[in-house]
């Protein structure tokens, strides 16, 4: 068992990193998009013509999953290697934590703002853009985390 870990620890940690980036941010986005979708459906019952506009708000919490996916994909293609050392694997694992964790929680927080934005859409359509802005503000932090994960994987990784 020990020998197995010593031999394969690097790649195991690396894949774990890919998994965390994709899983955590994906869960957040899925819950977020789902929540916003529920709220949007409520609007559509009475006013189906607002579908397009509500779709924008529904999609907003979906981007975190995308960021996690990009990190996972780049890691897998550029960095994963069966011969990688344990340190390298661990490095990748920690590098994927920012987008994984921030992606998860920011998608949840963003979905709440998106639901509130859908309320604006329902009651005062003219000011819907403002609801979009409030919601996208939350995404700032997902973008920051994404950039750090990206930099860690692309630029600061030591072969």
């Amino acid at each position: 068992m020990n020998a197995f870990l010593v031999e394969n620890g690097g790649i195991i940690m690396g894949i774990l990193g890919v998994a965390v980036a994709v899983i955590a941010s994906g869960i957040g986005s899925a819950i977020g998009v789902g929540r916003a979708g529920e709220a949007a459906s409520g609007v559509i019952i009475e006013e189906p013509e607002k579908f397009g506009r509500s779709l924008v708000l529904q999609l907003l919490p979906g981007t975190q999953g995308l960021y996690g996916f990009v990190i996972g994909l780049l890691t897998m293609i550029l960095r994963l290697d069966v011969d990688m050392t344990f340190q390298q694997g661990l490095y990748i694992f920690f590098a994927s934590l920012p987008i994984g964790l921030v992606g998860l929680w920011s998608a949840l927080a963003q979905s709440k703002a998106a639901v509130a934005g859908i309320n604006i859409l329902a009651k005062n359509e003219a000011h819907q853009t403002k609801g979009i802005i409030y919601s996208v503000m939350v995404e700032t932090y997902a973008i920051l985390a994404f950039v750090i994960s990206l930099m860690a994987i692309l630029v600061f990784y030591i072969d």
Partner: protein
């Protein structure tokens, strides 16, 4: 400046002339009425009673709206792209009024209302019959109809339902009865439908059994066997449906007149606005008092309008609007490029009359920052061509046109930054780049902060200009000048130390920073009387330097959002390449490439829009702008179905 100068007018005219005056003013358009209702009234002066015709107009508008909504599904005019290309019909105000007078929508309205009433009535009939049908259908197998058996001497027949769970008990109870019998006609939806036959001598015992076991009597009000009755209902429902179809078919016949109805709607809406405007005015026995604003440049034209309509029978006073009056309506006027960015200003808040129009100042920054955040040659060219086609080939409504033009201008910036970053659909074609965003991170961060520095300095400079304009040079020095010394000195000091410049530079910049900081502490609290409070206030203001640090860091989003968009593009390319590797994957690869890059354009543009707005609203406006002006509303309605041509 770019806030249009306004003049305030007070107009006295005779009551009798009021209506034709309003008509002329509506043609003139550029007049904004003041609401005089809250003014304290002198004796003999009163509000104007709402015009009797207003109710009628509102009723007409309601009817037209109802018709338009009802007929919408039958509209045969092109929709979608083709509809957008044609756009809304365009008329002059005069044409709208004249054409609307020739259109009689009332006749159609009553006809359509009758059709709709008929349809509604048929629906009710249909639903009633369907309900009867549903109630009757479980009894389909009943061999007799109840009336046939009501005359029997010794036997009573009754119908009823019992829930399935009570059925066993009921059957058990029946066994104890001697001269009673039940028959199961049907079983559906958890109920048994029973026909119960009992001898009159045993009637009481039978009723007792039935009551105890949850039997619900059912009375069928029919005069023929159930089967025949069901057939009759089916036939009648079909007839009702057929009749409905026939009425329904009449509705599309009105669809070609939709444009007419829309025109009347707009004409009436304008009339409503015109007649409703009187609620802002005051009157005496014979005179009407109207107050409001006209753009100063149109003052002469305004007088001409009055002269033409009223001759000498009026009195008007026109004065330049008070600078600090919060009632002055705001109209912004800029060149075409800057005008496209005005929606960003109005989304935040229009300036007050004594402020400055921020649009021309943030426009170049907005343009540049937006481009940095999307930064892709491919995306830029797609947007450029797309918006160009929309602008040239499509008849867009004015607000839509402004929005498209806004993106058209931004697409140039996106393309230019794409060239600088060497990005074409992500990394589709490797291009030489001036800055390689994924490796030259430190340079890029410095560039971002440098842009932020310039942005903030411009904001502060505008603030200084406003202080000089409104009070004095000295105040500008105290409130802004010292901050300039602090910030520029501080940053120069940092750079000088980092790059090991000659010590003289460090000394000078350090001294500048020190003087600036002392200045901030001593002078920014100068309005307080007590010395201690003054210094404390000054110290608190100096603490505001931490917010400048936050502001600078905030500009790193220029890089962050650009990278996020770019690497989503890179990921799309990776997937596409994987798919294109196999023969079966080729069509999927193409779909993935197109769909996801399209999605990424949308996403990047949305992010860029929001985050550039944030840099403008929070970092830039925070330095000099508060806003809160009321928009100048033209004396003409916002049209939905047509566009009304601008005056020449």
């Amino acid at each position: 400046m770019a806030i249009v100068d306004m003049s305030r007018f007070s107009l006295l005219a005779f009551q009798a002339d009021r209506e034709k005056l309003l008509e002329q003013l509506q043609a003139f358009r550029e007049v904004h009425f003041l609401d005089l209702r809250d003014k304290e009234l002198s004796p003999g002066v009163g509000l104007i009673e709402p015009d009797q015709r207003l109710n009628k107009l509102e009723e007409d508008l309601g009817q037209l709206e109802w018709m338009l909504k009802l007929l919408k599904p039958y509209d045969t005019r092109p929709t979608g792209l083709k509809g957008m290309q044609q756009g809304l019909p365009s008329y002059s105000l005069d044409e709208v009024t004249r054409k609307a007078e020739t259109i009689d929508f009332k006749k159609d309205y009553y006809e359509i209302r009758e059709i709709q009433a008929k349809l509604d009535q048929l629906t009710t009939v249909k639903n009633d019959k369907k309900a009867s049908f549903d109630a009757l259908s479980p009894w389909e197998k009943l061999p007799f109809y109840p009336d046939q058996l009501s005359d029997l001497k010794h036997v009573r027949v009754q119908l009823g339902m019992v829930a399935r769970k009570f059925m066993d008990n009921l059957a058990e109870a029946f066994r104890k009865l001697e001269f009673s019998h039940y028959e199961i006609i049907n079983e559906a939806q958890g109920n048994y439908y029973l026909q119960v036959i009992g001898h009159v001598d045993e009637a009481d015992a039978l009723q007792d059994v039935l009551r105890r076991n949850g039997f619900t009597p059912v009375k069928l009000e029919i005069k023929q066997p159930v089967r025949q009755e069901l057939d009759r209902l089916t036939r009648e429902i079909a007839e009702a449906e057929q009749e409905q179809d026939q009425w329904q078919k009449k509705l599309p016949g009105y669809a070609p007149r939709l444009s007419d109805y829309e025109l009347v709607y707009e004409a009436k809406a304008n009339q409503l606005l015109k007649l409703g405007a009187t609620r802002n005015f005051l009157q005496t026995d014979r005179l009407t008092l109207i107050q409001g604003y006209v753009p100063t440049v149109l003052e002469e034209e305004f007088r001409t309008v009055l002269d033409n309509k009223l001759g000498n029978d009026y009195h008007v006073e026109i004065t330049p609007a008070e600078r600090n009056d919060s009632n002055v309506p705001i109209k912004l006027k800029n060149n075409k490029f800057v005008e496209s960015f005005a929606s960003i200003t109005s989304m935040y808040a229009l300036p007050k009359y004594n402020e400055i129009d921020p649009t021309p100042f943030f426009t170049p920054f907005y343009w540049m920052f937006f481009g940095m955040m999307v930064a892709d040659i491919g995306y830029g060219i797609i947007l450029l061509v797309g918006t160009f086609v929309l602008l040239k080939k499509f008849n867009l409504a004015p607000s839509m046109r402004g929005f498209v033009r806004f993106f058209h201008y931004l697409s140039y910036s996106i393309t230019i930054w794409g060239v600088i970053y060497g990005s074409f659909f992500g990394d589709l074609i490797p291009l030489p780049s001036l800055i390689e965003p994924s490796t030259d991170i430190v340079q890029l961060l410095i560039l971002n902060i440098a842009f932020g520095f310039i942005h903030l300095m411009v904001g502060l400079a505008i603030s200084a200009y406003m202080i000089v304009r409104d009070s004095s040079w000295l105040d500008a020095l105290y409130d802004i000048g010292f901050w300039y010394m602090t910030l520029i000195g501080g940053i120069l000091l940092l750079i000088a130390v980092a790059l090991k410049w000659p010590p003289l530079v460090s000394y000078i910049s350090g001294a500048s920073m020190l003087i600036g900081m002392i200045g901030v502490v001593v002078f920014t609290g100068r309005k307080s009387r007590s010395g201690t409070v003054r210094v404390l206030k000054g110290l608190y203001n100096l603490y505001g330097i931490s917010s400048y640090v936050g502001d600078f860091v905030s500009y790193t989003r220029l890089m962050a959002i650009g990278l996020a968009g770019a690497f989503i593009g890179v990921a799309v390319n990776i997937i596409t390449k994987l798919l294109l590797g196999s023969f079966i994957g080729i069509p999927f690869g193409i779909v993935v490439f197109l769909a996801f890059h399209a999605f990424n354009i949308f996403l990047s543009a949305l992010s860029a829009y929001v985050h550039t707005s944030r840099l403008t609203y929070v970092e830039f406006f925070g330095k000099f702008y508060s806003g809160g002006g009321k928009p100048f509303t033209q004396f003409i309605n916002d049209t939905k179905y047509i566009t009304i041509k601008e005056k020449d």
